[in-house]
Amino acid sequence: MIRVQREDFDSGAELARFSQGKTSVGGICLFVGLVRDYIGHDPAAGTPVQAMTLEHYPGMTERQLEAIEAEARKRWPLEDALVIHRYGRLEPGDRIVLVAASSAHRDAAFEACRFLIDWLKTKAPFWKVEHTQEGDAWVEAREADEDAAKRWE
């Protein structure tokens, strides 16, 4: 299942729903991405981020996320898969994205979960603009994200 929404989600409730009543699931892997309060790799050297706004392309976003989920289900024997992505203004500490996959075995759950976030990062039409004291700046795509997605091609 995929969901694109402005409002926050309850990761715990999503996780609980994932395993409820299932006795063929051996493992659930879940990843939650959060807004950090600095730009770059070094918290001390990074510019403080006051907030960010996530813009998206309604319609195409759902279409791409559905394709990503379908691809994951094709590649691994999953019991379930879930992608939730927010848009709009978010503050440091806020949840941005949740991806999760469950399977009889942990390998499939881990790999599918990683695949979901890696592909989403390069294929789902979202754009972040960071609000700092020095003004607003569109986040540039990271080469590391491209590399991470290429592993799955």
């Binding site: 392309y57 390069t122 294929k123 789902a124 972040k128 569109w138």
Partner: protein, 83 residues
């Protein structure tokens, strides 16, 4: 056809969406871009560096050679940064 702009392409063109009737003979994304660049200095600026512009035709990723026709939804945006 409907043309959409996102992120800084929206800022540069000054619009989120416009209806475009491109000149006859416009059959690809590349040709559409050539036409869009003539519309305003903002449009020209938005398409100045095509290596940082991505395109989707009817909500699927495409390239400069992807066919476009009347009635299509063509979107231009920078490389995505979600997740």
């Amino acid at each position: 056809m409907k043309v959409l702009y996102f992120a800084w392409l929206k800022a540069k063109t000054g619009m989120a969406e416009e209806d475009i009737a491109p000149p006859a003979g416009t059959t690809t994304v590349g040709q559409l871009i050539e036409h869009l660049k003539t519309l305003s200095p903002g449009h020209a600026a938005a398409f100045e560096t095509l290596s940082v512009v991505r395109v989707a035709v009817n909500q699927d990723y495409g390239g400069l050679d992807t066919p476009v026709k009347a009635g299509d939804e063509v979107a231009f945006f920078p490389p995505v940064t979600g997740g």
